[in-house]
Each structure stands twice: as C-alpha cells, then as structure tokens.
C-alpha cells in the first residue's frame, strides 16, 4: 500500500486550521523583534559587549555581534568593479556505505573562473579524490567526516586557483584585478561537536587545513565569501534576545528564547530595498574565536530579489573582506550582478555552474564502483559484496504491495 493518504489529509486539514493562530502569534513576535532592532540600532557597542558577556557564560551561543554600522542600516547597490575575476567552487560526494560492495567515498570538486561582461570563455576545473575506507588506516568514515573534507577541499581549491591566477597575471606583467572566491553555504566550517574521538581528530585536521586555505587567500589579496540562499538563521534575532535579557540572567540564555520562531529573514526582508545589503555583523559561535584576526567571521544580508518579491541571502566573509571597502563593495555588486543573470530565480550564476560541474550522478557512482571492483579482481584482491539488505532493495520490479 502507498501512504495512508486519508490520514495525511486529515492531518493537513488540522495543521491548516491551527496555522492562522500560530501566524498571528508569530506576527506579534516579529513586530516586537523589529521594535528591538530599532531601539538598539545605535547601541551597537553596548549590545556587542552584552553578547560577548553572554558568550563568556555559554560558549555555545550563536548570535550576531554588531559592528560599527547601525543595526538597521541599509546600503544600496554600489558600482561594480571595472574588472574582477570570480572563482566559484562547489563539491559533491559519493558517500561511504557499508552496504555497498566496497566501502569507499569520493569527493568531486568543481570550480569555474570567469570575468563578467568580457565575453571571455570561463575556465572550468574538476578534481576527484577517491578514498577506499577499508584500506585506509582509519578503517571507516562517517558522512560528517566526508562533508568536512569536501567543504575544506572547496576552500583549498579556491586558494590554489586564486594563487595561480595571481601568478599568471605576474607572468604577463599585468596588474592583477581583484579576485572574488565564492562557495555555497556558510564560511564557517561545520563540525567539531561530535563525541567520537576519531571524528574530532579528523575535524581538527580539516579545520587546520581550512584555516590555512583562508590565510592563503588573505595573503593572495583575494576576497572570499560563503553564500547562503534562503537563510533560516536567527543570529541577529538572538542578539536582540540577549539585548532584552536582564544582565543577571545572561548565564541562562540557552533557555531564554522569547522570540523563538522569528528569523533574521523576517527582520530584514521589509527593510532592504532590492540590491541593498544590511549592516555587517560579526558571528559569535563556539568555533568563531578560532577564526581570529583577519579571519574573523562576519556576515550581512543581501536582498537579491525585486521590489515586489524580496529574496534574501546571507553573505559570510572574513574580517579582511568586511574591512576593505573595495572588496566589500565589489562582493556586494558582483553578487547582485551574478544573481541578475538568473532572472527571478536569483542565485549567483557562478555558484550554480560550480554545482553543475561538481555534481556526481547516480550513473557515475555506479561506474566508479564497477571500476573499483574490476581493478580489485584484476589485482587478485578480494572484493566485497553488497549487503543482503541492499541487494533486496536493488531487486527490480514492484517495491510495494
């Protein structure tokens, strides 16, 4: 039998009936959040100190820290740099599975380098890294470990390509143009929360490499950023919750969520004109202190939508980009330009192309598996077999009765 659609329909009707009351409550919270944003707009330093105090009490606090810009300030679309190079990278993976004949994973990195408005054909890059887990000293890998290796690989690839571009410009005795490197998703490498010592050790290694790649990009004078489409975070909202919490209750911030349900999107969607960005905020998180000095994590919200339909993205960048007017304005203008290429589905063209280059299809995965098995057999090695569970799932024909 398929789904119990009768039951699902009843649940949908019940949820829809409850929705107006919840929306009404959420609307009250959103209005309150907006009022707090206005009230603290010019009290950035005060709020920053309070967030830092709350973070000292609870290092797991994830919140925005105001910078010198007013909390509710908006900045219109600046002029795009006369010429700039965009390098975007993305990654995808074949995840390890103990149910497959061989327990392996593959990380495929794709990148595109382009100079907007010149008509020059962009250059594309692919890098595929294969790991056969059972023949590795570690013996096994989790999906989180693979995801961290992929995210680190993207930033490392960007650093290499940025340095190569600089070297090419030097060889040609050309003054290098600004280089903007982009990835999809947050700039902060996600992880380090596991209790498994193997996973923690793996993360620590990737994290060091990741920071080294960021330092390399900084040394090369290249900008770098992470682009989060349709963000659901509540970093600024969380800072406003801190603002509204009495000083003596900051230690218990973890259990204090008076604005739960309100997102930063709700705060800024009505505030930002098309093409405008919000103020820049610093990021407070468990790992943010490790991104010190020029690497310190910052972000702003950007309205890449239209007057009629605002559409926000969160753009994360390190301090060296946030503190350089040329890099900040260049990043702002280039992202809007890249989003405009895609019409109403505004998302940076270069990032979409990097995704297209990196994606591993099901057919390619099957092909890699067959190549591995064939080579193992040719070498006289014992290749594994698919688990019975997986083999039954793979049987052709009807899968439901």
């Amino acid at each position: 039998m398929p789904l119990d659609f009768l039951s699902v329909k009843q649940q949908i009707q019940r949820l829809a009936a409850d929705a107006p009351a919840q929306l009404k409550h959420l609307e009250i919270l959103r209005r309150h959040a907006g009022e707090l944003l206005s009230a603290y707009a010019a009290k950035g330093a005060e709020l920053r100190a309070k967030v830092e105090q709350a973070a000292a009490e609870d290092s797991f606090l994830r919140a925005a820290k105001p910078t010198d810009e007013a909390l509710n300030a908006t900045f219109p679309l600046p002029a795009a740099p006369a010429q700039a190079t965009i390098i975007a990278a993305d990654g995808s993976q074949i995840s390890p599975s103990r149910h497959e004949a061989m327990n392996y994973f593959l990380i495929n990195l794709g990148a595109i380098q382009l100079t907007p408005s010149t008509g020059e054909t962009p250059t594309t890059f692919t890098r595929s890294e294969l790991h056969v887990a059972e023949y590795d000293a570690r013996g096994s890998y989790t999906e989180d470990m693979v995801a961290q290796a992929r995210d680190k690989g993207e930033r490392v690839l960007l650093a290499e390509l940025a340095r190569a571009e600089l070297a090419t410009a030097e060889l040609a005795a050309k003054s290098p143009q600004l280089i903007f490197t982009l990835t999809d998703g947050p700039l902060e490498l996600w992880g380090g929360r596991s209790r498994d010592p193997d996973e923690l050790e793996s993360f620590a290694k990737h994290f060091e490499d990741y920071l080294a790649a960021l330092r390399s990009l900084h040394a090369a004078g290249a900008a770098t950023a992470g682009y989060v489409d349709k963000p659901r975070a509540d970093l600024v909202v969380r800072a406003l919750e801190v603002a509204a919490t009495p000083q003596d209750q900051l230690a218990d911030m973890r259990h204090s969520r008076p604005l739960r349900g309100v997102t930063d999107y709700d705060l800024f969607a009505g505030l930002l004109a098309p093409g405008a960005r919000s103020a820049i905020f610093a990021l407070q998180s468990q790992l943010s202190p490790k991104y010190d000095g020029a690497l310190a994590l910052h972000f702003f919200y950007l309205n890449v939508g239209s007057q009629k339909t605002p559409w926000l993205a969160r753009v994360e960048m390190p301090a060296w980009v946030a503190e350089s007017a040329a890099m900040l304005n260049g990043l702002h203008a280039l992202l809007i330009g890249q989003c405009n290429v895609m019409g109403i589905l505004s998302y940076p063209y270069a990032l979409h192309r990097a995704h297209e280059i990196a994606i591993v299809s099901r057919e390619e995965k099957d092909q890699v598996t067959q190549m591995l098995l064939a080579e193992w057999r040719a070498q006289g090695l014992t290749a594994g077999v698919v688990s019975h569970k997986q083999a039954i799932k793979d049987l052709p024909g009807r899968t439901r009765s």
Partner: protein, 207 residues
C-alpha cells in the same frame, strides 16, 4: 569560406541510413546545411553523408537565463556555448561510401560507430564524390519524405557547384539539374519545389 577537413564532432548514434553527431556550439559557419561530411568505416574507407538538420537542445538553465530583462552577459553566453554539455546535434543522411579508393553512391555496408569523428569533406573530396558515377546519391535525398528535400538539394547543389566551377567544370550544375528533372519527372509537385529552390540559389539562366 570555412576551413576544410574540419573535425565537426563525435557520433552520438548511427544507422545505415544516417547518423547524428554532437559538437560544441561554436560561432563558425560549420557545419552547414547541405554540407558533405564523412565518418570512418575502418582503414581508409569512409562513409559519406549530407547534413540535413542542425539542432541545438535547450535546457532549464538556458531557459532561465533568457527569461530576464537584463541584457545577457557575453561571458555567460560564451560559457554556455563552450563549456556546458549541451551540444549542437548534426543529423546526417548517408549518401555513399568509399572503399579501396572507389566511390559508391549506395548505402554503406555498415554504420559508423558511436564516438567516431565526423569530418567536413575537403573541396577536392566534394568534387570527387559529386562527380563520380551518375548522381546516384541524389536518390537518397529524394526518397525521404521527412526531409526538406527542395531546400536540402538547393543548399547542396550551391556548395558543390561552387567547387566544380572553381575547378573549371562549369557544366556540373546543368548536369545535376537535368538529372533532377529526370528523377522527378513523375512527381511534378516535388520537381516544382526543387526547381523553385534552385532558382532561389542560382539565376535561372544558369541551370
């Protein structure tokens, strides 16, 4: 004139009566509708065909990009034409083959293989193929009701006649016109279409 003996692309699918090649989208004027091309048939043997359709597939991204009021970024155009795997498809009608140096205006004994390279024929080869025998290859063009026969013949004759004329053979055009009239004498409607298309390609006094 476009460079000759140019590698057009690789075969995607093939049969005895025709084949389809994929190639990157480029700005050059090759391949052309009506062009004589060749694919390998083992050793020095070749299969000849005439390009009868050139199509470019669309995809979601291309549709999305054109659906914007902003002018298209030339870098984005270059990327889509050169880097993305949306090839131009070249459909070719088989019209003969070369075996042991001799040209035959018959269907080839076997189909070319997928990923075989499709080449544009040189002027000399075009003159040799179209000058061999008694225009037997024309029946492959004329028997296919799904093709724009009149336009295809006009395009092909215009290209071949230019090559023959440059080589000092100014009678080829009249000979091929006479042959077409003979082959189509019982099909007045198609004959009129072919003569009309040829009339658009050449001054009628030249035919």
């Amino acid at each position: 004139m476009a460079e000759k003996e140019y590698k057009i692309g690789h075969l995607l699918r093939s049969g005895i009566t025709g084949f389809v090649a994929g190639c990157p989208i480029v700005d050059q004027e090759i391949p052309r509708f009506g062009e004589l091309v060749h694919a390998p048939m083992g050793g020095k043997d070749r299969i000849y065909g005439i390009v009868h359709e050139i199509s470019i597939s669309d995809d979601g991204l291309v549709r999305q990009i054109i659906n914007t009021s902003a002018p298209l970024d030339p870098t984005v155009i270059a990327d889509n034409r050169t880097n993305r795997t949306v090839p131009m498809e070249i459909s070719v009608l088989a019209v003969g083959y070369r075996r042991d140096g001799a040209i035959h205006h018959l269907l080839p004994p076997r189909a070319p293989l997928s990923l075989d390279v499709l080449y544009q024929c040189s002027d000399a080869e075009l003159a040799e193929f179209t000058g061999a025998g008694r225009f037997g290859y024309l029946r492959h063009l004329l028997r296919n009701p799904d093709l724009p026969v009149a336009e295809l013949i006009a395009a092909h004759v215009a290209q071949a006649a230019a090559v023959h004329s440059a080589a000092g053979n100014s009678t080829w055009k009249q000979q091929v016109s006479q042959e077409l009239i003979t082959l189509l004498r019982d099909d007045y409607q198609v004959l009129m279409q072919v003569l009309g298309a040829l009339g658009d390609a050449f001054p009628i006094s030249d035919l």
